[in-house]
């Protein structure tokens, strides 16, 4: 099944090769050139292109590897000074590299599925839901990025966690961290779970805490993690501060060019509305009032009415909202499903409150949630709700008009399949006047997405408002979606805090208890 779905989705990905790609395409091409033509010492100093290397070193090594295959397609793409170079073969090579590295994702799916108890759910439904994830197709194969590979490694790490192989799991997660540092938001869940259920096993008494076993495990775990970090950063030892400044650019704004559907999207919207109200009421505002946030390049934005947000505040909020889940995870039993749920909550909390969040980061919550969706009704329900909203919120990334039908079809196919299959899985859930598993209000909210879509693509242009309020549809989309994401996060959070170690169907349940 996994092989079949992989081949079929790969065919769709191949068909999408000539589609629009974003500036990320040039970003990655530039990194190919940087890693190929410069010595290691200069990788993080090069500023030939505005798209400087801002991923951790392992990803740079990955680009370095790719750059050895690239000459078979087109040597010129490796020229550092050919900015915005897009020959047919360059496009073909870069697209194919994404499609082929997606095999790691398929491997991750395979490992995850085999870690679960045998049933048709994980044999058929889970592979399809994971492999055909329309968000990944939109972000990787149209917009252009290498998320498939990265989520593949995340899934490998999760699969080892499900099997109870904690060291391997930690190893792969550290590798992932050194490929793309955004996954650091997930680290707290890993940390707490490994601390409680790998290092400090059994009941929490002074005896167990100070036992030899604890220290042995701690040392083992620590050495694995630290050695991965050392292996990554050793070649760059003499210019670590430069790398850190590249990796954490706090100079960028609170929100990305298009607002990711989080709390700050609502905050920005409130600011806009307040500004509009102030204009109407003729208040005098000192600042310039013409800045629009939703256009073009990454830029800083000063809030007009509401106070501007400092990065520290976003970090504080993220920590505050992650802590209860951590405490809960620490006190729960060692079921890996608890860890997964906590992972989802970590990803969602940081998505909602983080600094300069990209809309693509919603996949960090959706993909682990997919595995949970076949476990319990509430997980399934949250998955349906969040995946629909989250994938819809990716639409503004693919703005060329000729992609309109394709993105709608991708979302529709995936969502209809998800609802159909999960409805078959939980046939007892009530759904007389609503979508499967959801209550009427949630159903109406999801159907409202269709209204938002219609407004953006039919009503807004028909009213001739594109020139007057170009940002309105985008603002509407992100504000509407952020309501949904916040709702999903809140209900799932409450569900997690109330849970008391729901049993999961794992292959080696017994093995876990005895060892």
């Amino acid at each position: 099944m996994i092989a079949t779905v992989t081949i079929l989705t790969s065919c769709v990905k191949l068909l999408l090769i000539p589609a629009y790609y974003s500036t990320d395409f040039e970003v990655h091409r530039n990194w190919l050139a940087v890693t190929h033509s410069l010595p290691i010492k200069k990788w993080y100093f090069d500023e030939t292109s505005p798209w400087t290397l801002d991923y951790p070193p392992l990803f740079a090594w990955f680009e370095y590897l790719l750059s050895h295959v690239a000459p078979f397609f087109d040597k010129n793409m490796l020229d550092l000074h050919r900015l915005n170079y897009t020959s047919d073969n360059t496009v073909l090579f870069q697209r194919l590299s994404v499609i082929i590295t997606d095999l790691i994702y398929s491997l991750g799916v395979y490992l995850c599925c085999s870690a679960l108890k045998k049933s048709w759910k994980k044999d058929v439904v889970l592979p399809i839901l994971l492999l055909a994830n329309c968000g990944l197709i939109m972000v990787d194969h149209i917009h252009f990025q290498y998320n498939g590979m990265l989520y593949g490694i995340l899934l490998i790490s999760i699969a080892y966690m499900l099997q109870g192989k904690h060291i391997l799991s930690a190893f792969w997660f550290t590798v992932l961290l050194n490929l793309k540092h955004i996954y650091i938001y997930m680290a707290p869940a890993y940390f707490v779970y490994l601390l409680r259920h790998y290092c400090l096993r059994g009941p929490l008494t002074l005896k167990t805490v100070t036992s030899k076993n604890t220290f042995k495990n701690l040392a083992l775990l620590g050495s694995v993690v630290v050695s991965v970090f050392i292996a990554t950063y050793l070649p760059f030892w003499d210019h670590l501060p430069q790398i850190v400044s590249r990796l954490f650019p706090f100079k960028r704004g609170l929100s990305h060019a298009y607002w990711a559907p989080n709390v700050w999207a609502l905050y920005n919207t409130a600011d806009k509305i307040a500004l509009l109200a102030a204009k109407i009421l003729n208040f005098n505002i000192g600042k310039s009032t013409t800045a629009t946030m939703t256009g073009g390049l990454v830029q800083e934005y000063e809030h007009s009415i509401l106070p501007s947000i400092h990065p520290i505040i976003t970090i504080l909020l993220t920590v505050i909202f992650t802590l209860p889940a951590m405490v809960k995870l620490f006190n729960l039993n060692r079921q890996p499903s608890n860890f997964l749920r906590c992972l989802v909550i970590c990803a969602l909390s940081s998505f909602l409150f983080g600094w300069h969040v990209h809309e693509k980061a919603i996949l960090m919550a959706i993909i682990p949630l997919t595995i949970l969706s076949i476990m319990e009704t509430v997980d399934g329900k949250t998955f349906l709700f969040l995946s629909t909203v989250g994938h819809y919120s990716l639409f503004p990334l693919l703005f060329p008009p000729y992609l309109l039908l394709i993105k709608v079809l991708l979302l529709l196919l995936y969502t209809v399949y998800a609802f159909h299959s999960l409805y078959k899985m939980y046939p007892l859930a009530i759904c007389r006047f609503s979508l499967p598993l959801l209550n009427p209000a949630e159903s109406i909210y999801l159907l409202g997405l269709a209204a938002v879509f219609l407004y953006e693509n039919v009503v807004h242009p028909a009213l001739g408002l594109q020139n007057k309020f170009p940002f309105l549809p985008l603002m509407l989309t992100s504000a509407y979606c952020s309501l949904g994401v916040i709702y999903a996060w809140a209900t799932y959070y409450v569900y997690f805090l109330k849970s008391d170690g729901v049993p999961t169907r794992l292959k080696n349940d017994k093995g876990n208890k005895t060892d």
Partner: protein, 549 residues
Amino acid sequence: MVALKLSCEAWLVIFGGLLAVLLRASTGLHPYSGEATPPMYGDYEAQRHWMEITTNLDVTEWYHNTSHNDLQYWGLDYPPLTAYHMYACGSIAKFLNENYTKLHDSRGYESEGHKLFMRYSVLISDVLIFLPAIIIYYWLTVPDDKGKKKKKEQGIVPLGPSTSIVLALLYPGIILIDHGHFQYNCVSLGLAVLAVTALLCEKDIIASFLFCLALNYKQMELYHAPPFFFYLLSTCVPKPGQGTLSGLQKLSKIAATVIFTFTVIWLPFLFSINDVLQVLHRLFPVARGIFEDKVANIWCALNIFYKYREVENTKMVRACLTATVSALVPSSVDLFLRPNKKKFVLALINSSLAFFLFGYQVHEKSILLAAVPVLLYMPFDPIACFWFLCLTTFSMSPLLLKDRLTLAAFALKIFFMVSFKVSADHVQPQFSWAGYYRNLLRTLLNVEYNKTNAFNVITVTYDHFKKNSEAVIALALHVIMSISLTGGTLLSIASLILKPSERYPDLYPLLTSIYCAVHFVGFFVYFNIKQLNIPQQDEDVKNVKFDSS
């Protein structure tokens, strides 16, 4: 929601339909024929040019060479219905952007917006005509595969209606030619499928009306005309117990429908005999020669030994006509004398293949006309049909290479093949293909050698094989099919990687067309035998259900 109460079969069709539209829309991202290649461009420009001509000129001027209508530059050479369709599309284009259809000035107009408009115009025609036609055909005429245990055990997989719908919609040939290369075949083919459905549901008047529409959209639908003609004629022959009059009555009804439909469609041209002749002259251009590019038919294959291009065109037309008619005789006569609904689709295959193999001025795209009836026949003989369909897409690969559609073709072919394998496994879950081979081999190798001595080993084996002849045939068929498909794949890989020598620049197209021509001749014989083996239908036509044989 109520909609969720739909059966699994219905859901399969919904997913298949959405998927089919997705594949079509994504194929539309790829280049079209003649993209950015002045001065003549390709079929895309031809269609755009027709929109320009039809919206700007008077109806009677459409087919004439005038100062505003240079017939040398993609002159209109399809029947009036195409022209009307182009008029409708052209009017919308004019509304969207005047530059799309400006007389003279819009020649070679290309832009992203225009490409989007053109792609959507095909997609909408496809979704409105071909897609429903396919769904209606399978739902009305293919029986559910329940109660067919016997067939399954023999290894033949009769596909259920919904699986067939999905597979038919995923067939790469039509997607590539219509949504990649750029044409509107989906309209005429969809109308023809609707006509077939009506005919099989015994709505003869509707069938003849729909077929006239198809014929008036593309004259290539003539490939399908003989079976329609002979079958409808045979229904007019009075059955025992019916009066002569009833037959005549029916015949006149059908004739009236045909004449009426043609009159309405040709109305603007009927006021002068000159106009009619001019249109007819445009539709059947004898002067163009026997074939343009390499085509997988008899003439192109024989061309290696004998150059036809030196022969006079009129002589050649006569030769083609004779050959085609003689190739048509067996299936047509059989259909007329021993009519049976089960034969009808087979007769369509045979007739279109006869035209394709022996006809004059055949395009490589015309294989679609044979592929569609094969699609319709797929539920009853999946393996052979699948094999044929793969070869049809393969036969178009030189054309697709020219259009830079190789990548799309590769992706769509793999998608189709894997989908077919999945549905075949789905029908026979008890054994996958590997298990199926194992079963076959087990039957074959289970020879009772303990009763033999050294001398009669061969006769015993022979007897055993003779007893299990079905298994032998099935195995042989699978092996031959695998070899043939592998050969095709290797040939296309070779054409991509290895450069042909300078002496034979057309080596790969020629090899491809010969490779396919040999296969098509084989299939032509196979489908003819299949048709001739079906007995005459029972006298009481209405009580017999359409059933696979």
